[in-house]
Subunit: 208 residues, 2 copies
DNA sequence: TAGATTGTTAATCGATTAACAATC
DNA sequence: TAGATTGTTAATCGATTAACAATC
């Protein structure tokens, strides 16, 4: 399982392929060529084939790829073929918006619990869960086998909460706090910075 | 202004540098070397210098960079030195969470209006704005000079709303809908897929 | 079979890293 | 001056694209 030598851009495109394939499956498409799969995304047939070749041989020359099979294979690679539980820390506007979002489950994620420090938020319901106090987080995680967390706390709190999550057995953190946080090498931290995304857009759009 | 030949990774790191510099400025730091700036982010001093060199000479040998000046320069490059107005289309959970978010303004963005089709949402207040009906969108944009939009509608509606935005003069769209949308070449579309972000995390975290 | 399309190798392209003379 | 640090060039590394024999 030499997973770490897969180039990050390849893993990213796996998510794009999966999304496209799931849409195609919804339209009843059963098989697809690398060329047609590439057409919807902004890439090429060679890229698609090269990417998939990192993980095995999934297609048939002259035929293409079987949509349902390829979906299954990619989900296995991304480890989303079985639903993975996720905790949300920080139940402010963004945290609660994520908790209410309906689309995660069919993609293989279930937001199973939420935590916050604020008395104003503890006890509130969002999506399927009731917000708990963050003091309960450690014990909750130690009794479970949850490995993924969404961090949606203010930047000042982010590093402390990150430390707590790492100590409690979390191995992957999606960090929405606009600050760079550190974690042990065994823990993957993936930053998401919505302001930075807007800045990238701004760069490409003239003013005035 | 040969902006289009700047490598995308460089523009992305500009946002990271800016965030770090703004934090340093908040701590009262006045000058900084490329080495120290790189240390916080996950990059190197050579990378920092090379990136900045795309835009001019901002530092002084033996001294480093002046924090406040570099902040100003990067904001000019990203065009966020003056506040840019942004419309939000789709006032569901995510759209409203973004509207309530306090952090955009000091980064140079102001969410000035929100639109939705749903009678349930029109008239609701979120952040500083009241949600309008999407039928008002075209006229609203034609009377203004707003060039940036956040698209937070369901995937089935995304392409139609994108078309409407493009026809109304929008030149940059941050697309949260989990679907690939097409726009004229003159319009920049930047996709943000939160599920895909979770998938990337999942890939790196073992199951069981 | 003929046409289509894969998996894979080789060639190209672009981005990062290292090194260092110039300069404060 | 001596030490620090820039801007920039050259070397390395990694990712994308093109091409094609193998195969359905």
């Amino acid at each position: 399982m030499k997973r770490d030598l897969i180039p990050p851009p390849v893993v990213w495109r796996l998510s794009l392929y999966l999304r496209e394939l799931q849409m195609l499956a919804g339209e009843g498409v059963e098989k697809i060529s690398s060329r047609k799969l590439a057409a919807g995304l902004h890439t090429t047939d060679a890229q698609v084939r090269k990417d998939l070749a990192c993980f095995g041989q999934f297609g048939r020359p002259g035929v293409g790829y079987h949509v349902a099979e390829l979906i299954q294979r990619i989900r296995e690679i991304l480890k989303t073929d079985k639903v993975r539980p996720v905790v949300v820390v920080g139940a402010g506007d963004l945290g609660r918006a994520l908790l209410r979002h309906k689309g995660f489950i069919e993609k293989g994620f279930s937001l199973v619990a939420a935590f916050d420090v604020s008395a104003r938020l503890v006890g509130k319901t969002a999506g399927d869960v009731t917000v708990r106090h963050i003091d309960e987080l450690r014990e909750f995680l130690q009794k479970s086998d949850i490995r993924l967390a969404v961090l949606a706390v203010p930047p000042q709190a982010a590093q402390d909460v990150c430390n707590l999550l790492c100590e409690s057995g979390i191995q992957g953190i999606l960090n929405f706090a606009p600050i760079s946080i550190s974690a042990p090498k065994s823990v993957t931290v993936r930053p998401v910075d919505l302001t930075a995304e807007l800045e990238q857009l701004s760069f490409h759009v003239p003013t005035q």
